[in-house]
């Protein structure tokens, strides 16, 4: 019986004969783990903030639990508050107990994992703090075998990004990957800049110290299983791609609706508005994934190239007729799930005369062969009736009306809905005959529900994203040109709004689906928003 040739047999045989090293590890198997994560240290700046306790440490714990962190790994929290290693570990233990996706937290796993968690006290602009960090990390390299590889997570206010990166570079904590056998990467949270010009400035500043492939801009939507499934759905199913163009699609609706208000984030939201908080990043990502061309391969840059092309093909808005294409809104008091809620201007830390938008709707066009004259309707809002993020592909009506004898009204158009959250799944609205003679035609739904098939909760977005950053895979992170392209589209709108004072805020009641003007956006072309 002949042995099936090992894929690396020739290379291995040659290397053993020459006593050289094989190019690839023959122990690595194709399938579930294509890449082994390198040893590394993750340093979290802003470790005492909400994100670390609610998302990052629970994500790390679950990655450790699933054996997906490197064998040689350590995590260092960096913040100015006085704390010992043990106190930080205890706080993170409580956070993981509360926020981990999988409970209960296994004490045997946590007890050994917590020995890999440390805390470093310093201000973000303190040179001594970075010097001592460097020494500390080198000690951890010896203790944990992390080989000098560094992943820095900037979980801070955006205003701190430049100073942190500058200091990291100044103190030799980040290095040019091309010249050493160790790597350093920086994960940056959104928002990346405040508008197009500030984003360019930030990008240019960062590129002085880091190359683009060392920068990992997080948009946590990209870490969601349902968002990743968009590529699989489109490109692993031949039937849909044939229909995915202007010949068959009438319009596309993308909705990011939240029933919650701004909570305790009043101060933050007054600076951002929904346009910067959601539309510029999450919605543009969804738009580009829905509209992109099939990539040639699944390499990070190949996919991101196609996404950027979509954003670059967006038709610039006529700023003189902006209100015809873009609607902004702000919620007034109303009712959510039967409970009375405050209006935006009554929320904590919000200016009683605020002109910040909590709702935005747009009609966009992509000027390329695939999407000629197909409107993309985007809406995002706070205090809408329910939480729902979905993409609805509305197909053209059937030509004529073959069933006019059964009913005067044409059959409803087919709609393919991709539910991102909650109730993750995909449904297709089709028309069916109601049993009986002379019966009308009734729309019905073919439904695929994630939880029906895949049971247990999928990994959290941050688990996937941290894992990919350690592996050096940038596919699920926004590239610089992507971010700039989306800012380029949004910024003129923001600047125009700045010029034109609002006269009708608040203009929708909490618990309604937004301002009337958003409905009119579609009604003028005989369309309407989906009732979700």
């Amino acid at each position: 019986m002949q042995n099936v040739p090992h894929p690396l047999a020739a290379s291995l045989a040659a290397s053993l004969d020459d006593k050289k090293m094989p190019d690839q590890n023959p122990l690595q198997e194709e399938g579930s783990s294509l890449k082994i994560p390198d040893p590394c240290i993750l340093v979290i700046f802003g470790a005492t903030g909400d994100l670390t306790s609610r998302k990052l440490l629970p994500a790390l714990y679950n990655l450790q639990r699933d054996g997906q962190l490197p064998t040689h790994f350590a995590c260092v929290g960096f913040s100015r508050r006085e704390k010992s290693h043990d106190l930080f570990r205890e706080e993170m233990h409580q956070a993981v107990n509360q926020f981990s996706r999988v409970k209960p937290v296994e004490s045997t796993i946590w007890n050994s994992f917590s020995n890999q968690i440390y805390y470093h006290i310093s201000n973000f602009d303190d040179d001594k703090g970075y010097d001592s960090l460097k020494i500390f990390l080198q000690e951890l390299d010896k203790k944990h075998g992390t080989k000098g590889n560094r992943l820095f997570y900037l979980s801070t206010q955006p205003s701190f990004f430049p100073i942190i990166i500058e200091k990291l570079n100044k103190h030799g904590l980040i290095y040019n990957g091309a010249t050493t056998d160790k790597w350093s990467r920086v994960i940056i949270e959104k928002p990346f800049g405040h508008d197009y010009h500030s984003a360019i400035e930030l990008q240019q500043f960062i590129l002085r110290y880091l190359s683009e492939n060392q920068i990992y801009r997080i948009d946590h939507y990209l870490g969601k299983e349902t968002v990743q499934n968009l590529l699989v759905f489109r490109f692993a199913n031949s039937i849909f791609e044939a229909l995915w163009n202007h010949k068959y699609i009438d319009h596309v609706q993308i909705t990011v609706a939240e029933e919650i208000g701004i909570g305790t984030r009043g101060a933050f939201f007054e600076e951002e508005g929904i346009s910067r908080d959601v539309v510029q990043n999450h919605m543009m990502q969804l738009l580009s994934l829905v509209a992109m061309e099939p990539p040639n391969n699944l390499k990070a840059d190949t996919i991101r190239d196609e996404k950027v092309k979509v954003l670059q093909a967006l038709r610039p808005l006529d700023l003189q007729k902006l209100s015809s294409y873009v609607v902004r809104g702000q919620y007034a008091p109303g009712y959510i799930n039967g409970e009375r809620v405050r209006g935006y201007r009554e929320e904590d830390k919000v200016d009683p005369n605020s002109s910040i938008e909590t709702y935005m709707a747009m009609e966009l066009y992509i000027d390329n062969w695939r999407w000629t004259n197909v409107p993309f309707y985007l809406r995002a809002g706070k205090r809408l009736p329910k939480r729902a993020t979905e993409i609805a592909i509305a197909f053209h009506d059937v030509p004529g009306n073959l069933f006019s004898k059964q009913q005067k009204k044409k059959p409803e158009n087919n709609v393919l809905v991709i539910r991102i959250q909650p109730n993750e799944g995909i449904s297709l609205k089709i028309n069916s005959k109601v049993p009986g003679p002379q019966s009308p035609i009734q729309p019905v739904k073919m439904d695929f529900n994630y939880s029906s098939y895949f049971g247990l909760s999928p990994p959290e977005a941050y688990e996937r994203l941290i894992c990919d950053a350690i592996l050096g895979d940038g596919t699920l992170f926004a590239r610089g040109d992507e971010v700039l392209a989306s800012w380029k589209m949004i910024t003129p709108i923001l600047e125009k709004w700045h010029e034109i004072p609002v006269s009708d805020f608040p203009n929708y009641a909490a618990g309604s689906w937004g301002p009337k003007a958003a409905d009119e956006l579609l009604q003028r072309s005989n369309r309407s928003w989906r009732l979700i």
Binding site: M1, H6, L16, D66, T108, S112, K143, G145, S452
Partner: protein, 358 residues
């Protein structure tokens, strides 16, 4: 909720009644078809646990065929298992006496959900010609064996290599998936050049495994055998000889720098009672002064790894084996491996070894 109904051969109508019992709005979920063939006996509880474990994670249609030597019967049962408030999946059980062997495939085929993958878990010896296997195996997306209960492993290994050419479905073994965590650990630890060379040219490997057995189990050394066979296949060590002394297998291989001895040692320790029979407990590697030690922590899924040599003794590192709780190993085989070059090459190595005649 479990709704159980018994009937003779009338699977269709019983499925219909089951659906009605769950209500009009209930969703019948089925990600794939899982067909299990076993002989009725002490292993039943093991496979029940396996089925529950699979369904809990991925709803599927299960068809469980059990041969009952003691009865001249053909029973069919249909059960529904609630996954959540509105979702259920079905388990079809077929129990048959030897007289009905030829009938079984015709009972099964109409109830394989079309367009979905079909996984065949064959827990008996495939070298014994079975018409059910002959009828169903060609249609399977994947055939998974459970070698723990097969008498003649050597014949099994040779037969499986042959089967892998005859049948389009990928072939695997639950015991192979059980050691996935250890394979992954080794790939991660020996990912640096120096460490890999140490392993390739090592002089001695000692693998200990849990010595417990279950009723009807024929072999508990398979995982250890697969693990050393995998290493030998990856590095093209050449098998020289095997001997068995007091239940310990001693194998000798040769490589470019000399001979290598591998010992497979069964161990019974108080702490490892919770682990399944045959589970790998430790692996120690000696290579020209370097010593790699991997020890399973009995109370958790951790493996503690420590390296030392003549000048250095590293602190231990902790590695977490993936959640291959009992019953979940089949999920690994179903969902996460489609390329089985490593398994086939391992089979090739272990099939060369006269396990029963040292």
């Amino acid at each position: 909720m479990v709704v159980q109904d018994k009937s003779l051969n009338d699977i269709d109508s019983k499925l219909q009644q089951l659906h009605e019992g769950f209500g009009k709005d209930a969703i019948r979920a089925s990600l794939f078809n899982l067909l299990i063939f076993s002989k009725k006996g002490a292993k039943d509880s093991l496979y029940e646990k396996l089925i529950q474990s699979v369904i809990a994670k991925f709803p599927c249609r299960v068809i469980w065929i059990r041969e009952n030597f003691e009865e001249k019967v053909l029973h069919t049962h249909v059960k529904g298992v609630s996954i959540s408030a509105n979702i259920f999946c079905e388990i079809i059980e077929i129990e048959f006496g030897p007289l009905y062997k030829d009938h079984v495939a015709s009972l099964v085929l109409p109830h394989i959900v079309p367009d979905l993958p079909f996984y065949l878990l064959w827990t008996e010896d495939p070298t014994q010609k079975e018409p059910i296997f002959t009828n169903l195996a060609p249609m399977a997306t994947k055939i998974i064996f459970d070698t723990s209960y097969i008498e003649n492993l050597h014949d099994f290994y040779l037969n499986t290599l042959k089967l892998s050419r005859e049948y389009p479905g990928v072939i695997s073994d639950l015991n192979w998936s059980y050691i996935k965590g250890w394979r992954h650990l080794f790939a991660a630890v020996f990912n640096a050049k120096e460490a890999l060379m140490s392993l390739i040219n090592c002089q001695k490997i000692t693998i200990s495994y849990h010595a417990a057995t279950l009723s009807e189990m024929k072999h508990n050394e398979i995982r250890a055998a697969y693990f050393q066979g995998w290493l030998a296949a990856c590095f093209q060590w050449r098998f020289k000889n095997i001997k068995k002394e007091k239940e310990i297998f001693h194998l000798t291989y040769s490589h470019s720098t000399g001979d290598l001895s591998i010992s497979l040692i069964p161990q019974s320790e108080e702490g490892c009672k919770a682990l399944p029979p045959g589970a790998l407990l430790s692996c120690e590697i000696e290579s020209h002064g370097a010593h790699f030690c991997f020890r399973r922590d009995f109370s958790s899924r951790q493996v503690i790894f420590q390296y030392s040599d003549t000048t250095l003794c590293e602190l231990p590192h902790y590695y977490y084996l993936p959640g291959i709780a009992e019953g979940q190993e089949i999920l690994e085989e179903i969902f996460y491996k489609s390329e089985e070059v490593h398994y086939r090459n391992t089979l090739d190595i272990v099939s060369q070894i006269p396990w029963s005649a040292p």
